[in-house]
Structures are given as structure tokens and as C-alpha cells.
Subunit: 413 residues, 2 copies
């Protein structure tokens, strides 16, 4: 099915933000075999939306919009598309109730302007949005399929995964299309490509695609077929082929996140963890507490930026700090062992390093020591990360989580 | 000048990479007052490039291509555009010499395929590329201006800054175009729009545009004029008009961030801060330490998820926890006062709440108490945030930073 994507919004058009929605949609649609013809980005004006829609209709059978569904005056996608298709807009009571619940909670009146988010074209299907006030809309008319989605990527992604892709898969000539996402950490995209090149170079079905994310790489394996058992068996076979080549760098599949996998391993063992952070400045604790129910395993975290805090809160010996310094294996070890014993947790993690930026060769930005405290003793690792201050913090926090995962899965000896 | 951007390349079309070129070009062109009509992304096939070019010509006076200028068979932008404009391609001797120098250096023979990168349409201007083998091309024909640039963003950016922008500024009827970005927190986009509607609805010059970000909203004011003093004075005047209507919700301008403004205020007063976090789980400390040099003001952070940690590390009285509970003004107050005195910092921040998700009406997701400890006493605020667990954590951490900003700027009494 020939597909066009139209992204509406001045913030993308004028370059304030990257077009994350187009990238995400393209990649997900290509993975289930839709033929992408193009993306178009236009501003919020009705005339531009209309022209883009008319042009897309000439070429595409499936047209996906993002943006322009909000409550402000310049949110016009819904109105323009309905008018072009000569469909009247009508109130969706289910969504009006949702809006009432949301706005009453935050203490804002649900006025007429905000109510327009509950309007959908007559006879069309609503896509619920659990993270925002604008629902998505699916319109089937005259051999065309038109899908309207909101603008914020954090709203678009779950709506696409939960509603749009299952719906589109039903439109495909294949009975079954399945995609397995394998998530890899600790191997760059280029290295990973070299390792599994023979699988990537196969044309057609199955299809293997790599996607580099900020601190990890994802491998998408898509299989199309006429029955579920065949597809599952091919997918299983290919998953095995990939696993053989990347081993313990594979941390999870599909919706799993590194934080989620670590949380599951901690839950399963009824384990607890505490953190002592310097260069990651709280980001490691933030990641560990991103999982619902994390109060069951996360006991406490200490962010000790100054040497004084390291001595006072974590009893890092003054001799260590004055001889080898705060950025050292010895300090990482003292931090991780002290937080583990003072909090009585099963495990502990520590980070100390130079987040940067720095021109001082004695304080090289990206040099980070990570400690892992366990009942069987302490592990320390030295890393040289690259990039901005934020990127060094991210890589350090993720590497600490990964160290704990590798231990809990029995890969660290 | 009405402008269209066309990005050619399967890697962008299929979602393997983000469209960094479109973002960069849009932002730079908007900043010098060009009117962006749209971006279009197409794959490498000649037919798609041709169609995109024809459509763009209908609307735009300036059309900028990126991608499709390389030496491989599927690099067709140059050929398609030249043929559409009926301009023959001819050899540019200057660039052929450059190619000879580049290829001989890396030991690759300059064959006919690679030589095609030195072809430019008759009578057109070449834009040198110091970081790659494909030069840019400027074509002026029949009232249209067409600019071809290579695909890699690291080649595009310096070519745009060094050659394209200076060239385009010469084409602008205005001598000076300036944009001021005002950054607003604590007012939703729709509310903000209501407040400054009379400024937004002015057509033309100055132009005011709103852009919602995840936890804040930005106001773009663009002024065009014939001399710098006039433009600066209009910008100052409009900045004042906006400020009058939104007051202390305006936290910064242009490149400033909330973290950066708080850091600056702390630096200026030589102040220190510590944090005691429950529901934000380290995110607040993470934000406070995102600024280079934060070790000068950030003393320590404690993440106390469990009641035990709250009692042990922050001396929250057992009676408070068992009477009003951990999510209460009393707990936020005890946390913030204890961390302030134990760390001897000038200021302290605390968060306690339900990050969610939760179906329990006794633990409503989004209910958060934030405490601010100061030498003049403690402030507490209750919030009802909305959205995913991650979104509640983000809103809570940002609101805590904002509370400290409001105090340091003298808005809290």
C-alpha cells in the first residue's frame, strides 16, 4: 500500500524540533511492508494542510497525518481533512467524557475551544490517546485510508504501536506479519552490522533492519507469511541466528527496556539496590525509579558531587580522595561498598567521572569509573565515553544498569 | 521569499535517520526571514525527485535540495533538476582539480563515475564543499532560485553558514531580521494563547508564533527592518508587551534553559542547594547537575523512596508518616528542612508524590507536594500533574526548579 506521511506543525517546519514522528512512522511502516512515497512537513495554516492533503491523495492510498489536533486556534488538521472529504464533524461522547475527567483533574474548565478535541468526522474510528487530550482518528473513504495522529512523539508512539499498526496489519495481503525487536547494548551500530551482515543482506522476507538509538542499537526482524505457526518458527530461527552472533550484548526484546529488564531481575530475586552517584548526578536513580513498583527494590540513592559529601555521606576515606582522587577505581569502590552496607541492600551501584565539557587533559571528559557491589564482592569498570555532558551522563548511567544486568544474568564472573 | 526544502534519500525516507538537514535549514532560513512553505522527503528514484521538484516549483521561489549529489548510480538530483530546467551539464574544471587532489590523497582512482561530481548546470554557481566530494550548486532561472546541497549534515552545515546564507541575505529585501524566543513555564499553550491573543493575531511584521514543548511553551517574535536600531527597538517593545501579560511565568530568552537560569541565579548569589527526592527519583538532581560547573552549587542529593529511608536519611518523624502519610505537605516540609540543615546548603528542594500509574483513588497518580527550603523559611506547593509516570516525574522536577527560580527572582513572598 503506497503511503504518504504529512507532519503538520510550525515547530517542525521552522526547525525548532527534529521530525521524530516521520522517522518513527516510516521505520515502523517499512517494517510491516508498506511502501513509503514521501514525507511532507507543512505549517499550521489551513491552506498548506489542504494542498499537502490533495497532493498526497494523488499518489498515496494510505495517508498519515501527525499534528494539528490540539485545542488551539491554529490546530486545523481535523477540520481541513473532514471538509476535503465532505464529512461532517460530530461530537464523540466517549472522548468528551475523557476530556472532562482530564481537565477537571488539573482544574481547567472544559470550554468550547477545548471541547473541539472530541469532534471526529462522521462514521470514523477513534484512536484513544492515553498520554494527551487529542485522540487519533481513522478514516476509510473512497479506497483511501487516512489516519490522523497528534503531534507530540510521546503520544504518537504508543498510539501507533497499540492501535495503528494492529489495524494496518489487518489491511495487508499477508495473513500474518510479525516484527521482533532485539535490543542490543555495548556494541556500536557499525560493529553490529559487521557481525550480522549475512542476515541483513538477505533481500525480502525475513527482513532485518538496524536502528541506532542514543545508547543502544535495535535489530528489527520482520517476517510475513500466511499462517502464524510458520511465521513464529521462522522468527524463532532468526532470533537464534542473531543471538549466536551477539551473545550477552542482547539485553531484551520488543517493548522491554534496560530499566525494565533490571527491574524484572531484581523483582524475581526479591533483591534490593541502592546507588551512590557522582558524575551521573541522579540520572541512575532516575532510571531505576522509572519503573512502576520500583519502591519494592530501590532503597535509596545518594548524589554526592563534592568531596565533602563523598566523605560525609559515603565515608570515602580522605586518603583515597587526596592520593588517587575522586575519579578513580578506589573511590568508585569505596562509594559502592559504603552505600551497600549503610543501606543494607543486596546490590549497589556507583559512578564517578568527568562528565565534561573539559579542556583539561588531567580531567578528560568521558572518563568514568563504575562500581557494582554484590554479595559476592565488588566489580569495577573503567569507561571512556564520548560526546556532550548529557551524553556522557546517559552512557554512564546506562552502563551502570547494564553492569548490574550482566551480573544478575550470570555473565559477570 | 517563499521557500521549499526537498530532502532526497532512502535513509531519511525509510526512517533510518532523522532529518537533521531539514531542521537545520528551516531554522536558519526562518531566522533570516524566509517564509518556509514545507519540507518534502523522497527516495532516491528519479521520478520521485522530478515530481517533488515540479510541485515545489508551483509554490516556491526558493527551492533547496539536500542529497542525491554523490558518485553512485542512485545519486540523481543534479541530473533531474538540470533536465527539468533544460540546462546542459558541463564540467567545472576547478572542482575536477579538487576531486583529483582528494582522490589521489586517499589512493582511489578518479574514474568517470566519480568525475560526474564535477558536473554543474551551464552558467550556474558552484558552492565549495570542504568536507566532501560533492559541491553545492546555485541555479538562478526564470525568477526561481534553486540550491542543491549534498546529503551528509556535517557537509551541509558549513556550506550553508559560509556560502548559502550570505548569498541569500543579499537577496532579502530586508537588511535586518531578528528573532527573539521567550520561554514560558507554568502556563499551558492554550492559556498562553488566550493571554497574548492580540499579539499573535497581528499579521506580518512583527510576527508572533507559539511552540509547545514538553513542559514549557516558547514564544517566537520575529521582526524585519531596514536598520538594526529600529529592529532592536521594536523587539524590545514587543518583549515588554509580552512580559506585561505573563509576568513571572517568563523564565528566560533565546538559548537559556530553566536549569541554566537556576544555575546562573545560584552562581550569582554564591548559593548552594541540596535535594531530597521521593517521586522524582533523582531526576531533579540530574537536572541540577546538567550544567557544567554545577559542583559549585550542588552539594548533595538524597533519593529516599522508602519510608525507612525517609526516616533514616532525612529524619522524617514516624508520627508524620503514620498520620498524614509520605505524600503530604508535612513530609515534603520535613524532607526539605532536614536536607537543608544536614547539608548546610542555602537552599533545598524536596518532592513527594504518586508518580503512577495507579488505579487506587487513595493514591492518585500525579498528586505531588514540592518543598523549598530557604533562609527565610519553607515554602510548600501542592500539584496535580497529568500523564504517564515519566511525564509526572518530568513535570514535578521542572516545577521544583521553577519554584526555586521564582524565589531567587523575588516572586515568592
Amino acid at each position: 500500500m503506497k503511503t504518504e506521511i504529512i507532519n503538520v506543525g510550525n515547530e517542525v517546519l521552522l526547525g525548532s524540533i527534529l521530525n521524530e514522528n516521520a522517522r518513527f512512522l516510516s521505520e515502523r511502516l517499512a517494517s510491516i511492508g508498506f511502501e513509503l512515497l514521501g514525507h511532507r512537513v507543512v505549517g499550521d495554516q489551513g491552506q498548506n494542510i489542504r494542498e499537502a492533503f490533495q497532493e498526497a491523495c494523488k499518489r498515496g492510498q494510505l495517508i498519515i497525518f501527525t499534528g494539528g489536533l490540539g485545542a488551539t486556534l491554529d490546530d486545523l488538521t481535523r477540520e481541513v481533512v473532514a471538509s476535503q472529504l465532505e464529512l461532517p464533524l460530530e461530537k464523540n461522547s466517549f472522548w468528551e467524557e475523557q476530556l472532562e475527567a482530564i481537565y477537571s483533574k488539573v482544574g481547567i474548565e472544559l470550554d468550547e475551544k477545548r471541547k473541539k478535541q472530541a469532534l471526529i468526522p462522521e462514521g470514523c474510528k477513534l484512536i484513544p490517546n492515553n498520554n494527551g487530550t487529542a485522540p487519533g482518528i481513522i478514516i476509510e473513504k473512497e479506497e483511501k485510508l487516512i489516519i490522523l495522529l497528534p503531534g507530540p512523539p510521546e503520544e504518537v508512539k504508543p498510539m501507533v504501536e497499540d492501535s495503528v499498526l494492529p489495524y494496518l496489519k489487518g489491511k495487508s495481503p499477508w495473513n500474518v506479519i510479525k516484527t521482533l525487536v532485539l535490543k542490543v547494548i555495548g556494541l556500536g551500530e557499525a560493529t553490529l552490522e559487521d557481525r550480522i551482515r549475512d542476515l541483513i543482506e538477505v533481500e525480502g522476507n525475513p527482513r532485518v533492519v538496524l536502528m541506532a538509538q542514543s545508547t543502544e542499537t535495535h535489530i528489527y526482524i520482520t517476517v510475513k507469511g500466511m499462517n502464524k505457526d510458520d511465521v513464529d518458527s521462522i522468527l524463532k530461527d532468526w532470533e537464534g541466528k542473531v543471538k549466536e552472533k551477539i551473545g550477552s550484548c542482547l539485553y531484551g526484546v520488543n517493548e522491554e527496556t534496560l530499566e525494565g529488564v533490571v527491574a524484572r531481575l531484581l523483582f524475581e530475586g526479591n533483591y534490593t539496590v541502592s546507588t551512590a552517584e557522582s558524575c551521573t548526578g541522579g540520572l541512575l536513580a532516575d532510571k531505576l525509579t522509572d519503573i512502576s513498583g520500583s519502591s519494592n527494590y530501590f532503597l535509596q540513592g545518594i548524589v554526592c558531587y563534592s568531596n565533602e559529601a563523598k566523605m560525609e555521606l559515603l565515608h570515602v576515606p580522605q586518603e583515597v580522595l587526596s592520593s588517587v582522587g575522586a575519579v578513580s577505581e578506589e573511590t568508585a569502590r569505596a562509594m559502592v561498598e559504603n552505600i551497600r552496607s549503610s543501606s543494607s541492600s543486596h546490590f549497589s551501584l556507583s559512578t564517578t567521572g568527568y562528565a565534561g565539557p573539559s579542556d583539561d587533559p588531567d580531567e578528560p571528559a568521558g572518563l568514568v569509573y563504575i562500581g557494582l557491589g554484590t554479595p559476592q564482592g565488588t566489580f569495577c569498570r573503567k569507561f571512556n565515553f564520548w560526546g556532550s555532558r548529557r551524553s556522557v551522563k546517559e552512557q554512564a548511567a546506562v552502563s551502570a544498569l547494564n553492569l548490574l544486568r550482566l551480573y544478575l544474568e550470570g555473565h559477570l564472573k
